[in-house]
């Protein structure tokens, strides 16, 4: 089969696709020809698939929650069993996963063939991240356009996997947020009342329905009474509900518990940097405590244990901020990067009335500064070396 796909063969235009499938099915048996003669068994496919495994709890819970919120809105929750709710939600979420992977991988395959390189695994993670950060009601064609935009303009033109400046999945969301804001925020997008693959139908909602997420409620709160969050039918929302994730929101980000399971998995296997995750939470909690102390309005008084369960803060901290390519790469830099993300996310969230969710913008902003932070850390190492040099390094070209 291989000669048909190699140069000169009949299907040589699909060479990258063939190699991609072969590399997907088998560990490549090429032997090393320079440098070390033995290699560690870790490779980027294993790393990426482990990140996907870490996202599975959030995905599964997101599917269940989609169904749960739907039946809570249209009524009939009490009669539904676990599998009905989960099945309904899974069928609602699946089209997004399919579109995201289909569009993204299609573009990646084409780029790899054009560059005559192997298909790289970076999109395996991005493809699952994109659906998890979208509200359930977004039209599929918008997801396709946004994914295509992101993969081409944020990843491929810079060189592909390993060369992107910004987090690719987050740029998809940012594109949708700025291009189609009505479908990405507000109170009507977080719960779907439509049919899912033909099951159920567009039912009228129950009385007292409000699709506002806790973030939305906090952002629109007035007066000085302490905030009491409610779920979509007006019943009170406890902290436990917010932590487990039975609240409206983007598909994968509602359950802090599922994100926590993913975080423990990623840190235990050493794939994500625990420094970034810890720093983001530390920065965020620090900012919240500062706001609690100042307490000019009721939003600033929300205690930190509720704030970190609201919105996409936890999900962003664990899965978005830790993207190794767009984050800081020095160990010291990761602390600064993480803390600034946490602080900025809270500032945007609490102080800025235009953006209820600050995490996306905070991470994208810090992606710009990540390499600047690295620059100064590296400069510190360089200065240490210069101090003990006998012949100074001449800047600007001439050197003996």
């Amino acid at each position: 089969m291989r000669p048909t796909f190699s140069e000169g063969g009949k299907l040589s235009k699909l060479h990258s696709v063939f190699e991609g499938f072969e590399a997907f099915l088998f560990v490549p048996d090429t032997t090393s020809h320079s440098g070390v003669h033995i290699h560690d068994s870790i490779d980027s496919k294993r790393t990426m698939s482990w990140v996907i495994l870490a996202m599975v709890p959030a995905l599964l819970f997101g599917m269940y929650n989609t169904g749960y919120q739907h039946f809570l809105a249209v009524g009939g929750l009490a009669e539904m069993g676990f599998w009905e709710i989960f099945g309904w939600g899974a069928l609602a979420v699946l089209p997004y996963v399919v579109v995201s992977y289909g569009v993204g991988l299609g573009i990646e395959f084409i780029s790899a063939q054009i560059k005559k390189e192997e298909i790289q695994e970076g999109f395996l993670v991005t493809g699952l991240l994109i659906p998890l950060i979208l509200p359930i009601g977004v039209p599929l064609w918008m997801v396709a356009v946004a994914t295509a935009f992101s993969v081409v303009f944020v990843k491929e033109i810079f060189g592909g996997t390993g060369y992107n400046v910004f987090n690719v999945a987050l740029m998809t969301r940012a594109f949708l947020f700025f291009a189609y804001p009505a479908k990405m925020s507000g109170t009507s997008v977080w719960v779907t009342t439509n049919a899912s693959f033909g099951f159920g139908s567009a039912l009228p909602v129950a009385d007292g329905f409000s699709g506002a997420t806790p973030l939305g409620q906090a952002a629109s709160a007035v007066g000085t009474n302490a905030l009491h969050f409610t779920n979509i039918v007006g019943q009170p929302l406890t902290w436990w509900d917010m932590f487990l994730g039975f609240e409206p929101g983007s598909i994968g980000e509602t359950s802090t518990l599922a994100v926590l399971i993913g975080a423990i998995f990623l840190i235990a296997t050493g794939i994500a940097s625990w420094k970034i995750i810890t720093a983001v939470f530390a920065g965020g909690i620090g900012a919240i405590l500062l706001f609690n102390a100042l307490a000019v309005n009721v939003y600033m008084s929300v205690p930190f244990w509720e704030q970190i369960c609201m919105g996409g803060f936890a999900f962003g901290a664990v899965f978005m901020a830790t993207d190794p390519v767009s984050a800081s790469r020095t160990e010291k830099g990761k602390w600064i990067y993480g803390i600034l993300i946490g602080v900025l996310a809270m500032i945007i969230r609490v102080l800025n009335p235009a953006y209820p969710e600050g995490m996306m913008l905070a991470i994208l902003l810090m992606n710009i500064f990540a390499k600047l932070i690295d620059y100064y850390v590296v400069q510190g190492n360089i200065n240490k070396r210069l101090k003990r040099a006998t012949v100074g390094v001449q800047k600007g070209g001439n050197h003996e």
Binding site: D40, R46, T330
Partner: protein
């Protein structure tokens, strides 16, 4: 000054095939080789022709750019063949050995009684100068530069490395004489790096040198790591580096007046039937050293040196002069693991925590592995951050230096410490790299380019 260094970064790779502590003599080698390509960066100028009679220690070629650096033959005999390749590039010089080895008679002298220039001249004329390397550039030491210090590594921490305690047993006079010769070459100190586990009195009681102890996994045995801990190299400084086993050969020369490069070579690796030490000389054919001691059912790879920094040789190849070890392992091509990257793979060794290596090692301490030469992944751009730093115990940022080498940014390389490193320091980084970047090759090319740019 601190004399004991504890190093936590690094990785000990357990492999099957450690040499048993028994010594066998090598067989007869029909042809011997003196190969200019064994020395990186040397453009050879031939000093002999086919049919010339040579004795052990007589010069066979010299470095065209530094004609005082002579390369000698380890054996006496007649020059049988001069192998040339494309554009008359010198590929090999083959010598047919005499039945009885004869040595060029050099005077027996005590290096402590000689002036530094005399010691240098003696070493250059005998071809033993080529055993000394230098930082920067990790090439043969430049005789025109005065070294700030000289660093000798007294142990090897690489996978399946030979045991220096065992090899240097009863060679204390030779080893000490070699160290004395080195002390004459510098106005600074001679540092001897030893492991906290080194037992041999030959090493522990070396005189007139500064002994520094190292405790930690590989790459603590690498001289570059030791230099960075003891007294790093700055821009503009030159240090010489040497291997303790070669220092003993230098001492033997001063004690006997003969260029006798007999050494104990550890024959190691998963594909060796009975791993042991073989008494032989560099330049002998691999087969005369192995003597059929290899499982040949599968396609094997012969490496002069260890699996991280060694040089691949054909089965008809020769032992290169820098090697004190031969490793033989399976090639592994043709092994197709279905979905291998997703499976637990309990029987492979990995530094990554996505495999269960540490867990298995807790239940089976002392378990050894049989790696083969597969890449086990495709080459990618650098994705994971903080990987290299985990196995690079020097005060240098390895990933950023690698990036500067890949992009050819010479000023950045200088700023980040390219003058302190050799490709072997990055061998572990290359081993654990998720993206399979050929780091050693990248650093080697950068060093060569820098050397040419600087005109050194």
């Amino acid at each position: 000054m601190k004399n004991t260094f504890k190093i936590t970064k690094g990785l000990y790779i357990p492999m099957t095939g450690t040499s048993a502590k028994e010594v066998v003599s090598a067989g007869e080698s029909e042809q011997w080789s003196v190969n200019p390509n064994d020395y990186h960066g040397v453009v050879p100028r031939l000093l002999v022709q086919v049919g010339d009679l040579v004795k052990a220690g007589s010069p066979v070629f010299c470095d065209k750019n530094k004609p005082e650096v002579l390369f000698a033959t380890p054996v006496s005999g007649v020059v049988a063949d001069i192998v040339r390749g494309e554009k008359r590039k010198l590929l090999n010089i083959l010598i047919k050995a005499d039945a009885q080895n004869e040595y060029v008679p050099f005077p027996v002298r005590d290096p402590l009684a000689l002036s530094p220039d005399q010691v240098k001249e003696t070493l250059l004329n005998s071809g033993l100068w080529t055993l000394l390397k230098q930082r920067p550039y990790d090439c043969i030491a430049d005789p025109s530069k005065k070294p700030r210090d000289i660093f000798v590594s007294g142990f090897d921490s690489s996978p399946l490395a030979p045991d220096y305690d065992f090899i240097l047993k009863d060679q204390s006079t030779d080893f000490q004489k070699g160290l004395d010769a080195l002390t004459r070459l510098t106005e600074g100190k001679v540092y001897l790096g030893l492991s906290v586990k080194t037992q041999a009195p030959e090493l522990n009681q070396a005189a007139r040198v500064e002994i520094c102890r190292f405790d930690g996994p590989h790459p603590t045995g690498l001289v570059g790591v030791q230099i960075n801990q003891i007294k790093p190299v700055n821009k503009g400084e030159v240090v010489y580096t040497a291997n303790a086993l070669d220092v003993a050969a230098i001492g033997r020369f001063f004690n006997t007046g003969k260029v006798d490069l007999t050494r104990l070579v550890a024959v190691t690796g998963p594909m060796v039937r009975k791993p042991h030490y073989v008494r032989c000389k560099p330049g002998m054919s691999i087969q005369s050293i192995l003597k059929g001691n290899v499982h040949t059912e599968a396609h094997v790879r012969y490496i002069c040196g260890n699996v991280l920094t060694g040089v691949q040789t054909g089965s008809d190849g020769f032992l290169n002069p820098q090697a004190h070890q031969i490793t033989v392992l399976k090639e592994g091509e043709g092994i197709h693991e279905l979905f291998g990257w997703a499976l637990p793979r309990l029987n492979i060794f990995s530094f990554s925590r996505t495999y269960f290596t540490k867990l298995v090692q807790r239940f089976q301490p002392g378990k050894k592995y049989e790696p083969d030469t597969r890449l086990l992944g495709g080459e990618r751009a650098l994705i994971m951050s903080g990987e290299y730093e985990k196995v690079f115990p020097m005060d240098i940022l390895p990933e950023h230096l690698t990036r500067a080498c890949i992009s050819g940014n010479i000023e950045r390389q200088e700023e980040l410490g390219i003058y302190e490193v050799a490709p072997e320091d990055f061998a572990l980084c290359e081993y654990i790299c998720t993206s399979k970047v050929p780091v050693q090759q990248v650093v080697r090319e950068a060093l060569d380019k820098l050397k040419a740019e600087n005109g050194d």
